[in-house]
């Protein structure tokens, strides 16, 4: 493998751009999080050190938000990953009529999240659930069901993402590996377990990682559907953050953001180690 010299010119443009656009605002945000900065009192900006962070330790609302966010993230990513993988495997079969249908599966991704969330509010399903005696269900007004509803709407929107990434991964797997395995008498499950899974691990973990980070920060759908309610049933860290912004508490809002970043970074680091291991073995 070549040494770093020439690689520099490939890497520099993207990296310089990325770090300038993202890390500078982040550093600024970290700096603001040490201040007591309330927008309505611009003259009363004071350095308060870690006070904005210390508040989280004994704030039940924040703890609750962490729990809600975790439940939503784990639930959504699990559902989306399994559905996405299942669909990718289904569509990777050499069956002719699958080709033209493939693109239909991707459509939810094209719907603007704000609209995608809104269209679920139209109560068609409830009417028919009512007609067969099962409903109407309080999808958004029951605390427990509200979180499930949000997860389902999120799943509807992002299963195509999981599908597309894993499907693209499946398509570039060398076909002759499977043919060789079939010749050697491997069952379909065996070739899935011993060829597909190991070769697809990198792509699968990447898909989980990207979706996990996005779900953790999900805002649009929750905001449109419940705004964090009923009560605090769907109040994620992001909604809490938004409320702090809305009230003009810049220091506190930025502190919440930095905490979110740290939580996501830890989550990411754990998954990254899993991703880099097979990657290192390959090169």
């Amino acid at each position: 493998m070549a040494a770093g010299r020439a690689g520099r010119w490939f890497l520099l443009p993207g990296l310089v751009f990325l770090f300038a656009i993202d890390l500078i605002p982040l550093a600024y945000s970290g700096w603001v999080s040490f201040y007591n900065w309330w927008l309505v009192r611009p003259r009363d900006v004071r350095f308060v050190g870690l006070a904005n962070y210390a508040r989280f330790a004994d704030d039940p609302e924040f703890t609750r938000a962490v729990v809600v966010t975790t439940l939503f993230t784990v639930g959504a990513v699990l559902v989306e990953f399994l559905a996405g993988l299942g669909l990718a495997l289904l569509f990777a079969q050499p069956i002719k009529f699958l080709r033209p249908i493939r693109v239909l599966l991707l459509l939810p991704l094209f719907v603007v999240p704000v609209v995608g969330a809104t269209m679920w509010r139209v109560g068609v399903l409830n009417y028919y659930l009512g007609a067969v005696g099962l409903g109407p269900l309080p999808w958004l007004s029951d605390p427990r069901l509200a979180l499930v509803s949000i997860t389902l709407v999120d799943a509807w929107r992002t299963i195509p993402f999981m599908f597309l990434v894993m499907y693209a991964g499946l398509e570039v797997l060398p076909a002759e590996l499977f043919e060789a395995a079939a010749v050697d008498g491997a069952s379909r499950w065996q070739s899935f377990r011993h060829i597909t899974v190991p070769l697809l691990t990198y792509i699968m973990l990447l898909a989980i990682l990207i979706r996990g980070m996005d779900a953790f920060r999900e805002f649009d759908i929750i905001f449109v559907l419940t705004g964090g309610g009923p009560g605090t049933a769907t109040q994620t860290i992001q909604i809490l953050n938004y409320r702090a912004f809305g009230l003009g508490h810049m220091g506190e809002a930025n502190a919440i953001g930095i905490v979110t970043l740290i939580i996501v970074a830890v989550m990411c680091f754990v998954l990254m180690r899993a991703i880099l291991r097979p990657q290192g073995a390959r090169s």
């Binding site: 493998m1 070549a2 520099r8 490939f10 890497l11 443009p13 993207g14 990325l18 993202d22 500078i24 605002p25 982040l26 600024y28 945000s29 603001v32 289904l90 050499p94 069956i95 009529f97 693109v103 239909l104 599966l105 939810p108 094209f110 719907v111 603007v112 999240p113 704000v114 609209v115 995608g116 269209m119 139209v122 068609v124 009417y127 509807w156 195509p160 993402f161 597309l164 990434v165 693209a168 060398p174 002759e176 043919e179 792509i203 990447l206 990682l209 990207i210 805002f219 649009d220 449109v224 992001q238 953050n241 938004y242 912004f245 809002a253 953001g257 970043l261 996501v264 970074a265 990254m272």
Partner: protein, 274 residues
Amino acid sequence: MKPTRLRATLTGVALVPVLVWTLFPIYWITTASFKTELALYAKPPQWLFTPILDNYSRVLTNIPFFQYLKNSLVIAIGTTLGSLVLGTLAGYGFARFHFRASEAVRFLVLVTRMAPRMVLVVPYYLMMQRLGLLDTYTGLLVAYVSFALPFSIWLLIGFFVDVPLDVEEAAMIDGCSRLGVLLRIVIPIAAPGLVVAAIFAFLVSWNEFLFALILSGVEAKTLPVVIAGLNTDAGPLYGEMSAAAVMVMLPNIVMTLALQRYLVKGLTLGAVKG
């Protein structure tokens, strides 16, 4: 490996709930855009109705819709091109060149994507204000390329690593430069990855709401902000909203169908390579 007729049938049966789940909300919002206010809220839901165009004419005449459409398109295409160029270069750099801090830098690339947008938006607003780029295409485009780039880089690393090294080395022995190898050998082989990266870069820009809301005032306002604006204090205008939503979906669907052919071509090319 020819699938049996039974397997094809089972697959077809399994597809029915999948397609209903995926397409019904889109079907419903599309029909809703052609309904009168009365038909929208009718119980039982109306499956058959006389379609009207009132919702569309209201959206097109009450707001400068085409200006916003142009804004959204220009910014999304710019985002796609920008993140593809930068992402391809960096992805190839990571896939083929290893230096001491290689993995740490790759991790840092992801860190930038982990940043909650809520945190980025205020300091970014201040930066753009200082540069005089508030409410411009550039202001949003730069932000969106930075959103799309980490995913592009990571995805493309995965595809570039799988490109057989000996093909590249053979080309270099024949006098091809590094950049030539990337353009003539690596990119064609990794085309499916590039298509996926392009689609996602476009969508990042097309769907983004928070930054568009805060950074764009009048000139660079994009469609999601316009649509969310139809969710007024007096309650959502479902008719106008669904009409606008359908029009926002339209260019996307056209684009995907156009790319679809290339996607298939790219996929078969990937299958041939091994």
